[in-house]
Symmetry: C2
Subunit: 205 residues, 2 copies
């Protein structure tokens, strides 16, 4: 396999997903840190060479660049037990990964960022307006997960897959955005199961 370089901001849950996948499949990642608070992913050099979308993470594979956290996880996990071989189960795994990026991350992760990096006292008018909207949508996403996990140990195929890895980081950190894990007991039990997987690595503070 070509050399792997993770262009990241270590505290981002989207970057943590990729490190977690790499740990589970035994892939070695070189890491390059960018300070998103200083605009280091919006420089002309970064936009031209790493990701025209100006975001972390991007996984570099030899001379090629792969943005989008869940696509990078998929690349690292190809051929491993983290991706079910059954066609429906593989698509169902992707279903949860698309759902994560559409319904979960823009709410649960964004509120974590707003509270932890910007601070309520510094919210813009737009952030003040959107806060209750994202809070309600984030709570709905966590509730949907809780309902799904009421009768299941993992999201798809009865076992630990990339769907669990994609959903783990921002769910585990949701209290930083003002959500209460105690409201979602099946989610709490699932978080513990993910953490008990051999090869699990913790988030970085």
């Amino acid at each position: 396999m070509a050399a792997l370089i993770l262009h990241e901001y270590a505290r981002s849950g989207n970057c943590y997903k990729i490190r977690l996948t790499a740990a589970h499949v035994g892939a070695a990642l070189e890491r390059r840190e960018y300070d998103i608070m200083k605009g280091e992913t919006r420089t002309p050099e970064y936009l031209a060479a790493v990701n025209a979308n100006g975001r972390i993470p991007t996984l570099q594979v030899g001379e090629r660049f792969l943005p989008e956290s869940n696509a990078a996880c998929f690349y690292l996990a190809e051929g491993s037990a983290l991706i079910p071989a059954d066609p429906f189960e593989q698509a169902d795994m992707l279903r949860w990964m698309f759902w994560e990026q559409y319904n979960h991350e823009p709410n649960v992760a964004t509120l974590r960022f707003w509270h932890g990096w910007i601070g309520e006292a510094n919210f813009s008018d737009l952030q003040k307006t959107l806060h209750p909207v994202k809070r309600e949508a984030g709570a709905a996403a966590l509730k949907l997960m809780d309902d799904h996990l009421a009768a299941r140990d993992f999201f798809v195929a009865g076992r630990f897959t990339l769907a669990d890895i994609a959903l783990y980081p921002y769910t585990a950190a949701c209290e930083e955005g003002g959500f209460r894990l105690a409201d979602y007991p099946h989610v709490q039990a699932w978080l513990a199961r993910v953490e008990a997987q051999p090869g699990h690595v913790r988030a970085e503070e």
Copy 2:
């Protein structure tokens, strides 16, 4: 293959993606229409049986249900030429599909819906506040596509793949949301290439 039923709202670009994929791979779809303007995807029956997330599309495969448009496209296209076999190219295809759901659809598709279904005169205060934000983000997404396509015929692997199918419907309809295709000449040329593919089917009005 088990019987395939598409639970849809035909004018949704996310549903059109699935019909387009099915046409390209020759899969027969039974179709069930729901009026999203009348809340038909939020009934207790729909939430319990089809999609707990209360959205269309959902692809039913025998007795199983697969929400998320891009996951349904992936399922239909598995084993076909629409999904590159090369691991990096397959992940790169997914990269554009995740990008579509995160950066493109919430802006370009949402503005089409707001303008075409709600009407500017009926915008809520929140919609009025978000309109310029989504307009700027949508324009940035179309610009990123235009730049990417300046030197390429298709998004990934030098040929027509699911990435093109995922990005086609809402891009083709972007003028309904107030964007101007003439501002994105490489996108316009790519739309024509997608439409020239054997097996292409048009959107429904």
